[in-house]
């Protein structure tokens, strides 16, 4: 080797450190990601054999050990849709307020702090709150209504934050132009800004409801029952729900068939991952169609 191009020992050691460290990061990432994939695939493999028409559409029999999970599926649908009824309009309106109306003052800061806190409150505390307010104080009883209201407040922060973020991404110039053409504040928001932000808003709504669909703790003492012989008839009835059903059959039913357990988990997973996929599709489609 010629003079002056001898390998520099410091460079070699930093090169080794570089290689080792980057591999460490890759390894850590794999440790995070692989278990998730493994769990999802494992549930699919173990649960698939129990999926049948009867499993989806029949009531449970013999203390949940046989039959299907129809009332739990319907219950989760009811709870998710009921939650949407309250949280979607309220959450979107609050997001609009923060993005389009709110002045930068201490009241707005207080609203933001409140939202951050709502997002951080443990789900079981929401359950306590729902029990205290909706079940007992307002006397709704253990009911779909009480559960939906509880879940609504829990999903609000997700919907508000994503709505606000989606609205803020709409270019400011659209607002200026719209107002220069004689639009009022609301007209600008309703006709121009909100439609443009809709995909982002929708994504937030779906993600919020996805969380509501999978939650157990908030509905534990507000509206679920581990077995009901018939479907709920009104919003003041209790209901069965998939997450709670999984909890019960995996912890409190002796002699429970493992296959049915995996099957039930698979159905919930299908729900949740389906919503996740839907949110991604909305996002991808919107990005392709966006005009700015």
């Amino acid at each position: 080797m010629e003079d002056g191009i001898k390998p520099n020992p410091i460079l070699i050691s930093s090169h080794r450190q570089e290689t080792a460290s980057l591999w460490l990061l890759r390894l850590i990432t794999l440790m995070t990601v692989l278990p998730i994939l493994a769990v999802v695939i494992y549930i699919m493999v173990k649960g698939a054999p129990s999926i049948s028409w009867e499993f989806i559409t029949a009531f449970p029999r013999n203390g949940m050990r046989e039959g299907g999970i129809w009332p739990a599926i319907v219950g989760t649908l009811y709870l998710t849709l009921g939650t949407a009824v309250f949280s979607v309009p309220l959450g979107i309106a609050a997001g609009i307020y923060l993005a389009e109306y709110a002045p930068e003052n201490r009241w707005t800061r207080l609203i933001r702090i409140a939202i951050i806190n709502l997002a951080g409150i443990p789900s079981v505390v929401y359950g306590l709150f729902g029990l205290g307010v909706f079940v007992l104080f307002l006397k709704f009883g253990t009911s779909i209504l009480a559960s939906c209201l509880t879940l609504s407040i829990m999903t609000l922060p997700t919907i508000i934050s994503t709505t606000e973020e989606a609205l803020r991404q709409v270019p400011y110039s659209f607002r200026a132009v719209s107002r220069s053409l004689g639009a009022t504040h609301w007209q600008t928001t309703w006709r121009i800004v909100l439609p443009q932000a809709m995909p982002g808003v929708l994504t937030g709504v779906i993600l919020g409801l996805e969380r509501a669909a999978g939650e157990t703790a908030p509905i534990l003492f507000t509206g679920v029952s581990f077995f009901l012989p018939q479907l709920p008839q009104s919003v003041f009835d209790a209901t069965m729900a998939l997450p709670y059903h999984i909890f019960v059959i995996s912890t409190s039913v002796p002699g429970m068939s493992v296959q049915i357990q995996y099957g039930t988990v698979l159905v919930l997973l299908f729900f949740v991952l389906g919503m996740n996929l839907l949110a991604s599709l909305v996002r991808v489609r919107a990005r392709a169609k966006r005009q700015w």
Partner: protein, 251 residues
């Protein structure tokens, strides 16, 4: 005829910068009044006062009068939404709303509650013809407005203002993002339209100012330095600062 009379207009921002200092200016109807000068001179701020369109920074003080047809538009009684229909603005970058070509032009009318199709069709066609855009887009009115060229977009923005039936049209460096051909189209178009409207034009260079001006006002650091009819400002400026700017010594 005096369309707009500005008296002792002062505008100060909350960060302490002064944007307009004791501006007195009369803007004539059926003519193009050019406001020119280096950036930050207060031209855009003045336009935004004229249709009370918000700007980005906070206003600490706004005093003086702006009379439109003899009425002070800074009066709290004046509804800014109605004012903006009378005093339209075209921005420097063409910003088509994320709607179709047709709906862009119909937007202002729909805001006023006009939903009858025949009326809208007629108004859209008329505005597009006035903006000399009709022949280029009549067969694709329902395409997204973003699909047409930059020059066409800017004429669409103009059509959008024309559809409102304004009295005053303000153009804030309307050709700064356009190629020379599109620029000259807009320039000759405005020469036509001044027969019927009061036009306030902020050009993006001195040459354009000189080409377009029926009246010219030179702004420097928030001050109206010099105002004159015809092209006098570009040939015999009285003020040394005007002369330096026109001759390209700064700016």
């Amino acid at each position: 005829m005096d369309k707009i009379v500005i008296e002792h207009l002062n505008l100060k921002y909350q960060d302490g910068t002064e944007s307009l200092r004791d501006v007195n200016l009369t803007i004539a109807a059926n003519a193009i009044t050019v406001l020119f000068g280096p950036a930050g001179g207060g031209k855009s701020s003045l336009l935004r006062v004229l249709n009370r369109l918000n700007d980005r920074s906070d206003v600490a003080a706004l005093t003086g009068k702006v009379l439109l047809n003899g009425q002070n538009i800074l009066d709290p009684e004046v509804n800014p939404v109605e004012l903006r229909r009378k005093v339209g603005i075209v921005f420097s970058r063409p910003v088509p709303l994320p709607l179709t070509i047709y709906e862009n032009v119909a937007y202002g009318l729909r805001l006023m509650g006009e939903n009858r199709k025949d009326r809208l069709d007629q108004a859209v066609e008329q505005a597009l013809r006035e903006a000399v855009l009709w022949d280029e887009v009549y067969d694709r009115l329902h395409d997204p407005a973003i699909a047409i060229s930059g020059g066409q977009q800017q004429r669409l923005c103009l059509a959008r203002v024309l559809a409102l039936g304004p009295e005053v049209i303000m153009l804030d460096e309307p050709t700064s993002a356009l190629d020379p051909v599109s620029t000259s189209k807009i320039e000759s178009l405005m020469q036509e339209l001044k027969q019927r409207f009061t036009i306030i034009w902020v050009p993006h260079n001195v040459q354009q100012a000189a080409r377009m001006a029926d009246y010219a006002a030179f702004f420097l650091q928030g001050e109206l330095v010099e105002f004159a009819a015809e092209k006098r400002l570009f040939v015999f400026p009285k003020d040394k600062r005007t002369e330096d700017y026109v001759e390209g010594k700064f700016g």
